[in-house]
Symmetry: C2
Subunit: 461 residues, 2 copies
Amino acid sequence: MADILEEVLKRVRPTEADQKRIERVASELIRRTKAACAKLKANAKPMLVGSAARGTWLRTERDIDIFILFPEGLPREELERQGLAVAREVAGPKGRERFAEHPYVMMKFEGFEVDLVPCYDVAKPSEIRSAVDRTPHHQRYVKERLTPELADEVLLVKKFMDGIKVYGAELQVRGFSGYLCELLTLRHGSFQKLVGAVSQWKPGVIIDLERSYADESEPKVLFEGQPLIVIDPVDPNRNVGAAVSMQNFAVFVRACQEFIRAPSLRFFFPRRVKLLNAGGVRRILKRRGTKLFCVAFRSPDVVPDVLYPQLRKTERTLVTRLAQSGFEVLRSDVWADFRAVIVLELSVARLPRVRTRVGPPITLEAEGFIREHLGSKETLAGPFVDAAGRVVFELEREQTDARRVLEQALAERAAFGKHVAEAIGRGHEIFEGAKLAKLLRDRKFREFISEYLAPCLPWYR
Amino acid sequence: MADILEEVLKRVRPTEADQKRIERVASELIRRTKAACAKLKANAKPMLVGSAARGTWLRTERDIDIFILFPEGLPREELERQGLAVAREVAGPKGRERFAEHPYVMMKFEGFEVDLVPCYDVAKPSEIRSAVDRTPHHQRYVKERLTPELADEVLLVKKFMDGIKVYGAELQVRGFSGYLCELLTLRHGSFQKLVGAVSQWKPGVIIDLERSYADESEPKVLFEGQPLIVIDPVDPNRNVGAAVSMQNFAVFVRACQEFIRAPSLRFFFPRRVKLLNAGGVRRILKRRGTKLFCVAFRSPDVVPDVLYPQLRKTERTLVTRLAQSGFEVLRSDVWADFRAVIVLELSVARLPRVRTRVGPPITLEAEGFIREHLGSKETLAGPFVDAAGRVVFELEREQTDARRVLEQALAERAAFGKHVAEAIGRGHEIFEGAKLAKLLRDRKFREFISEYLAPCLPWYR
């Protein structure tokens, strides 16, 4: 075990040269931001936050987050105006504006991806105006507690999360943020102790570092239904684990259980998904014998955190529509890059015309039910009584072909999410079965569909 | 309402000539049985029982039941030997031996179907040795209470049961016996009052004419799960309604509810089922779009009361086998005459190769489940974790073709019932879809399948 962890650290811990380089770049960015504030007469000060500021970044990561802190009294529009002006001044023409909860500027700088984020410098995190205002407090909280030894443990935790594919709180991933990894490490003191604790986790587990609540009853209600509840030490009203889906929660717990049983580098460095070509896709589809539909369209121009929830909503809507029409969806998934794809895999794509409509049990009145269907155009047979004593009709199924159900739902676009509905409205294609080969030229989609067709927990690959 | 009932009686009440004729034939049979007893020195006396003896037979019925009562002391083998000898003497060479709970002789005589049944003349019905020993007691109980006016009401009840196809306690029908119709009439006093009461029946209703039980708690336990509980006035340990299936119970209740709403001769004299020819069968099957399988074989040489339960058991076994293999059976039925047929109607006859095997939830250990399937020959994909946090594998389905599942089950013949298993073992055919047309030359099967393909409560036809 110790050997494995040592080996992992050797591979992921930034070298001294890496460290020097990021410090130099970050200092330069801070210097430029201060200069921009002075030049534009903005009463603000820059702050380096995130893993770069805490020495908890993985060697492969290239992110620098600079927050620009404005005084609390400033009106919101002023903050946005001045903040963006400062950020633009720093970024120059290469900067690109982005909108999350409020606007910020992204730039590439000496090989790093830099976010310049204006925020309020609030005294109490309970009085924040926007989620980004919490970040400086997170920075201070972690920085004060994180020894260099603990920073190494954080690296192990992050790389483990990365290896088992649950790292990242963005809505595409619905996993564990860097800050969450740091809090979990602080709570348990080491990667190994954390893994031991997690292997016993049940959904609804509560971690409250600062004992913000007298007992667990209050957070249990406050964050009901969320599998992982990690009370934010700087703001007890927030669950730092809110983004973690039940699926990723379970993957993390299973991974910890199995890592204890058989520690392996595979958890940190899983094998890559074997990329399928058109022939491979055809072979697997034939072997599975299912009916696969890929609904493809050009992604709407919104950030992934807006797009993915809408894609999943659309996916759910389509699954429900198909189920209501009698078609069992075996599995489904969504993916997006320049193009967006919703994958729906059905057991069968054609159903018989007849469907059974079961009426009230013998203990209830059936007159209305019988009158509704007797002699109706869609009635094929009935009324008769089944073995359980219920009145039954056999009706014509409206749609016996799954593709037609899908087409109809895509034409109506009800409960799809605004941007996805619009994008699908502008044009879409349905690729049936092996016809999805046409999409394989997109390497990222190829990765996605290769994984979809051979789903497997990463450490078992 | 009164007009309708009057019209029904006009059609079903035996004429005076009918009545004279049956009395003459019954007397002749009694006379012959007495003579046979004398000739064979059997210490027994004949008794006319059943609807012929009570004046509650429908004009179309042609049954005469003569019971031959032996003293209680006689050993069972002697009763069977002497009883059969007497019956054979009466019937002559035209008589045919039959075996129910014990042997009896059936004969055709002057247009009537005559049963000659040896039994014990027991003093207390609670001390019977065989179910037939109860019959003389039933005869006396009903005869003592049934006025000519009530006999007319019984005719209405019986014809109603006949019209809605729930008349007969034989296991092929699982409906209401003549004796049960008589008891229900005695209990409620008239057809109309009975119909009113039945329209309020719930499964588990208890009718206890002689108040044999202090309250309903005891019979509720004794006859648990039986929808209709009618305590036998001559033997409180017996439920006269035991044969009534939930299906027929519900049909009777629905018929009464609807007869009250809209009285009609249709309940007593429903339209005939429209007989389908091969073209009609093909048209309906095409419209339904289902996959119909008819398993046909020569009926084993046993009475219907033995055959039908075995056929239904076989039907259930096949439905379960198909369901376990993932095939949904929409509807199924059995039929028998010279030939026996089990009909199974499926939504789809082919399934994808892949099937989902869901493992334990996140709160339970999954090691055993994972070890069982990891790298196994039948594993197509997995382990992965689903949205609910459960570990999942995708496995190969053993059989993707419903016909092959059926063939395999018919080859094994486990849980089929002895005689049916043997008969199927001697040879069987599976007719798929419209190929069942080959069976249509059998007019009775044609009636059955015509009704199967357009099931409808008789009064709605």
